[in-house]
Structure formats: C-alpha cells, structure tokens
C-alpha cells in the first residue's frame, strides 16, 4: 500500500511538471494560436539555467553557484523568457506551419548547443549533483517526494491562478481576438505583433519553469532529456486535454502521462515474458490507439474551450 502511495506521488510530480509546460503551450496555442513546436528547447534553457545556478561547482564547467532553489526557478524563467524574446522577434512574423518549422529548428539547435557547449552544459556527460531541495528538509524517499510534490503543486497552483486571471482580463480577450482574426484586432487599434510576442514569452517562461522543476527533481540534466519527442508529448497533452482551457491542459498532462506509463505497466503484466522484448512495440501501438480513440470521441479535447465574452457579461 505504501508502495502504491509512493508511486502515485512520484507519478503526480512528473505529470504536473509536464503540466506546467502544457499550461505554457496552452497560452501560446490555445489562446493566441501560436504554433510553437520548440517546447523542448525552451524547457532545456530553463533546465540548464537551474542546473548552473543551483548545482555544485565543477572543474572545467561554468557555474556551480549553489544558489537557493527559488532563485534557480526565477532564473530559469528569466533565461527562457530572454531566449523567447530573441526567438520571438525573429520568427513571430511567420504564421502557422511556418512558425512551427522555425521553432522546431530552433529547439533542435538549442539541443545541439547543449550537446556541444561543454563549458556551459557539460556536453554529453550532462551535469550531475543538482540538489533537490526536499532532500535537505526531510529523510526517506516518500517524505521527500511528498514534499517535492507540494512544491510542484504550489508552482502549478500559482501558474494556473495567474493564467486564469490574465486570460479572463482584457489582455486575454485580446489574445483570442488576435487568434481569430488579427486584421480585425489591428483595425481596433491593437498591436498583434506585440501581443503575440508577449504571449510567446510568457508561455516559454512556463516551459523553462517546467524544465527547472524536472532537473531539480531528477538531480541530473543531459541533452538527451530534450529531444523532439518531449515537444510531441507536451502537444499531445494539450490536444487531448483541450486547448484554450487551463483545466484541460492540466488534465491532459495527467491523462496522457498516465496512458504513457500505465500502458507499460499493463504490458509487463499481461504479455508473457518470452515475447516481452517485443512488448515495446505493443506499448507504442497501445499509446497511439488510446490517444486516437480519445480524439475521435472528444475532438475538442476532454474539456475544451469555455465560450464566454467577459467575466462581467457572463453573470
């Protein structure tokens, strides 16, 4: 029973960490219509910033400032935000699939920089020994993970509340207006370029935050954590959960990560040992089937966008 609780805590930590990135993507795609296919790249920036700011000093590698966890989180958001400003200025003139291709390329570039800039990132060896703040406070894996889960919950809660607040504000309505018809929005005196950039930067900061939470939890960061599959997973979570709905984004993170991991558990239980080595392929098929089935049944996601004009007009 303790094992089960311990696993659920662990599962929630990982899925909610993904959830933070999904919230960021939701702001970009769900509310603003920006096709960001570079989630992994911005996550990587946040992750490495966390590792450099809070990690122990190393020979021949920059960083190791051993700063507090919270400083690492804020630093990660700032660094990925700055990265997003540059990327945004360069690419946000592009629309839809063009933006997707450009951001995808940038994410691959960032991963390759992480792989090659040894002085900053430790290269392929990665950076080890990144402190997990919960280990300084309590003993035992379950207590530590529970504490870390609380930290993640606080971060998710704050992000969620802030996003709910801003998407319901006039600024949030402007995002949707631009998503639906940016010419119409511009004719009302709004500046779509500027607002797109703002939404892009805010969303990327959340992706960086997600990366930072991940490395602190795992205690290690390497370029292999930020392959394009991560971007794909985050997108799947958003689409399954329901884009343009922050609750949907978080639910999607839990459900998709649940399907991803539970399918492996089920396969290890039901498939005979002799053919389990082929089970990997079955797991991939199972994940695909479940996701397709969900989208067929709920094409707008499990909880899609709520339609309303303004929080004042609704009542």
């Amino acid at each position: 029973m303790i094992g089960l609780v311990s696993y659920i805590v662990f599962f929630l930590i990982l899925s909610l960490i993904f959830g933070v990135a999904v919230l960021g993507l939701n702001l970009q795609w769900g509310f603003t219509g920006l096709f960001n296919a570079g989630v992994a790249g911005f996550s990587a920036i946040g992750a490495y910033t966390m590792a450099i700011l809070t990690g122990p000093a190393r020979d021949a590698v920059f960083g190791g400032f051993e700063l507090p966890f919270v400083v690492g989180l804020i630093g990660a958001m700032i660094a990925s935000g700055i990265g997003a400003v540059f990327v945004g200025l360069a690419t946000l003139k592009l629309r839809h699939e063009y933006l997707a291709v450009a951001t995808f390329g940038i994410a691959v570039t960032i991963q390759l920089v992480c792989l090659n800039w040894e002085y900053l990132t430790g290269g392929t060896l990665g950076l080890i020994g990144i402190p997990n703040p919960s280990k300084a406070w309590v003993d035992g894996p379950l207590a530590q993970n529970t504490l870390y889960l609380l930290v993640v919950l606080v971060v998710v809660g704050l992000s969620f509340a802030a996003l709910e607040r801003i998407v319901k504000s006039p600024w949030g309505r402007m995002l949707k207006a631009i998503r639906e018809d940016d010419v119409a929005a511009a004719s009302l005196g709004k500046s779509p370029e500027r607002v797109r950039l703002e939404a892009f930067v805010l969303g990327c900061m959340l992706m960086g935050l997600s990366g930072a939470l991940y490395v602190s939890f795992i205690g290690y960061v390497s370029p292999w954590d930020f392959l394009p599959i991560l971007t794909f997973q985050i997108w799947t979570m958003l689409i399954v959960g329901g884009s343009a709905n922050n609750r949907g984004a978080l639910l999607g993170a839990l459900i998709v990560w649940g399907v991803w991991t539970m399918s492996g558990f089920v396969i290890s239980r039901v498939v005979p040992a002799e053919i389990q080595a082929q089970g990997g392929a079955m797991q991939a098929v199972l994940i695909g089937l479940i996701l397709v089935a969900m989208l067929l049944i709920r094409p707008r996601g499990l909880i899609g966008e709520e339609l309303h004009v303004s929080r004042h007009a609704r009542s």
Partner: protein, 419 residues
C-alpha cells in the same frame, strides 16, 4: 473533472497494484531497457539475453527455492519514461534490484531519482558515461550502482600505450561527440601525456554528417605524425577518407568500434596498412566459450552484439547476490555482490550446472568467484569493472592480433596512469 481524473487513476492503480505487493514467491527482478525507440533493436536482444539468464537461474532452482520472475519495462530511450518505469517496478512490483538501462542519459536519472533513494541495486550492462564514476566518487550512489560494462578508462589507457609504443610523438585526436567519445578522448589526452606522447589537436565531430572536411582540416594543423580516431564505422570511414585525401598520415590508431569489415572496405584496406587498434578481448576462458555455446543453442545465432555478454553477467551476479542474502533487500544484495565475485572465492561458471554449484557453495557459507560471460568480474569501489584488452593491426584484408593484456595487466596500467 480534474479531481475525478485523479481518483479514477488512483482506483485503477490500486486494482492492479494490490496483488503485486503481497506474495514473496516468485522473486521479481526488474529490467528497464529500451526495447523500442532509437535503441530498440539493440535493446530487444539485450532484453532477451537478460531473460535467458533468468531462465538458466530458474533451471538451477531459482533464488531461495523461488522461481525468479523477470519484469521487463521499456524506457523508449527517454529519461522520464525510464524513471517512471523504474519507480513503478520498485513501488508496485517490489523489486529490490534493477537491470539497466542502456544509455547513460536514462541510467543516471534512474539511479539518482529511484535506485539510490529507494535503496535498490541498479546494475547496467551498457552505460559507459564517466559521470557514474564521478557520482560514485562523490559518495552519491551509496554503493547501489554497478555496471558490467568495462569502462572507457581501460580503452584510453591501452590506446595511449599503443600510440606511444608505436613510436608516435605527436598525435591528433578526432572523436565522436557523445558521452562515450568525449570521455574517452579526454582520458586519452591525460594518459598520453603521462606516457610521454603529445597531442596536436582535439577535434570533436557530430554524427551522421555528409562531410567532415572542416574537422579533418582542423586536426591536420600542427603536422601530427599519427591520428587517434574514436568513431563508428560509417562516419569513421568518411573521416578517414578525407583525412588521407587531405594528406594526413596513414599512422592510424582507432578505437574498438572501428574493428569492422564495413569500415575497412569503405575506406579500402590497401590504404590502411598502418592501421592499428585495440579491443576488449574476449577473455581466454572456458566460461566464455560455454556461454557462447549455450547462447547459440538457445537463439540459433552467436552472441554478437553490444551488451549481450554483459547483461547476462549483470543478471547472474545480481541473482547470485540475492541467493547469498538472507533477506532479499537492496542493501543485502549490494553488500553481497562482492561476496559472489570475490577474487579468492571458489570459481563458478555460467549455466544451470555452474549456478547450482554456486548455490551449494553459498549454502555451505563459502565465498565464490563468478567467472562469467565477460570473464572474471571484479567491481571496484565505484561499481566499475575492467576487461582484458587486445591490440590488432590490419594485414592485407585481415585484422591480426598483435598483443594481449589480461585484466590484471590492464588494472596495473591504469593504476600507473592514475598515480
């Protein structure tokens, strides 16, 4: 809705999880390997060989009279998936030892976030990164980390020795930019300085490029009299062709992955008559031959491929350590691993008979020395092992052996270099 999702998930987990925790028999051994994804083909054979080792152990009566159940989970080559799989094996299946993973980028997160905090032994067949040794030296593995893959340490040492013994004074290094290549090249640089050689340049290359002209040009600076190349056959052949075409010396020293006919043919053997290399030697031991025979009988093909010998030994050593433990806990397994690979123990070999004999000896309270598919394993304080090495050169189309260093000689060489 959000809360409902959580509750449903918890209920689903409980339904499947609860049966797993109760029984003591069979004893479970967890394996986290990439049976799909980019490493899928390699991982699948490794996973099958791991199962083969478990089957043989069961044939000899299992652990404490219990059959061993091999619970395999796929990492998909992704760290988050691997970490979750490991945690699920530990918490829901109650395993006390994990075999895996293959790539270091997955093994290390599993080690730091699951194995060490949960006090579960993790033994990898294949992870080569030096970060594990660094982590162990810092005391952050608590001794729960082991690998049956002989570390890069010996490869750079023997490469440097071969270079200096061949009379080369200034060497250029071109290496693949992975944790394997970087670790090896950096060690080589230190080793060759100790042995009296010198390096003219260190050039990393990224895999799967059309041309490596820029890298080769850079490596040619300073007129090296030899080239040390750490590469894999396809890219290695491209680099070698460009190196020779641009006037580089044909005094080549290559790492073991280039001891391949694909490479010789792609470059042309006649251009490689001053090529030398080294490789992990199959130890000259009957235990290795008997493993090879048993493997061939089971799979109808010889055990050629990365990680097969080493995963067999990883599984067998862990199970022997379980057998030697009263209570099967991660801590006991960790402590008993050296008891079953002790240099002054009674020698036992792989296969059902060897394992049955090992179990008898353990029951009598004796220490044993498991000499397995990779030869005698001696884990150092960091959980690393060494392997015997051989050197070779190309003669016509054939690569011929030019030297052999036993495990003890390799260890001696490394000790000298590390001083």
């Amino acid at each position: 809705m959000h809360k409902f999702g959580l509750a449903a998930l918890a209920a689903a987990l409980m339904g499947i999880g609860s049966t797993a925790l109760a029984a003591d028999c069979p004893i479970k051994l967890g394996a986290i390997l990439p049976v799909s994804g980019p490493m899928g083909q390699v991982g699948e054979r490794i996973a099958e060989t791991g199962l083969f080792a478990v089957e043989q152990f069961n044939e000899a009566g299992g652990v404490h009279g219990c059959q061993v159940e091999y619970v395999l989970r796929d990492t998909q080559g992704q760290s988050a998936v691997g970490v979750d799989a490991a945690k699920s094996l530990v918490d829901l299946d109650g395993v006390q030892a994990l075999i895996g993973a293959v790539s270091s980028g997955v093994s290390l997160p599993v080690l730091t976030s699951v194995a060490v905090p949960s006090k579960v032994v993790q033994m990898s067949c294949c992870s080569s990164s030096e970060s594990f040794t660094a982590l162990a030296e810092e005391g952050k593995t608590d001794g729960y980390w082991f690998r049956t893959y002989a570390t890069n340490r010996s490869q750079s040492a023997i490469g440097a020795k071969l270079t200096v013994d061949s009379g080369f004074k200034s060497t250029a290094v071109i290496y693949v930019n992975t944790d394997f290549g970087v670790g090896l090249a950096n060690r080589f640089e230190q080793d060759i300085a100790k042995l009296g050689g010198s390096i003219t340049s260190m050039v990393a290359y990224n895999e799967s490029q059309q041309s490596y002209r820029a890298e080769v040009t850079k490596a040619l600076e300073g007129n090296p009299d030899s080239l040390y190349l750490v590469a894999f056959p396809v890219d290695g052949a491209t680099i070698t062709r460009e190196w020779l075409a641009l006037g580089g010396t044909d005094n080549l020293i290559v790492n073991n992955s280039l001891r391949s006919d694909d490479y010789f043919q792609a470059v042309g053997s006649k251009f490689l008559q001053n090529l030398q290399g080294y490789d992990s030697a199959q130890p000259r031991l009957p235990s290795v031959d008997s493993f090879n025979e048993m493997f061939e009988a089971r799979f109808d093909s010889p055990p050629n491929g990365p990680g097969l010998h080493s995963v067999y030994d990883a599984v067998t050593v862990v199970l022997l350590a379980m057998e030697a433990s009263g209570d099967i806990t991660g801590e006991n397994i960790r402590d008993n691993i050296r008891l079953v690979t002790s240099p002054d123990g009674v020698e036992v070999h792989p296969g059902p008979e060897g394992i049955a004999r090992a179990k008898e000896l353990l029951a009598e309270g004796k220490t044993i020395r498991y000499v397995g598919a990779t030869g005698a394993l001696a884990f150092d304080a960091n959980g690393d092992v060494q392997a015997p090495k051989m050197t070779w050169r190309l003669d016509g189309d054939k690569n011929v052996e030019t030297g052999y260093l036993s495990t003890a000689e390799v260890a001696e060489l490394i000790m000298m270099l590390d001083e």
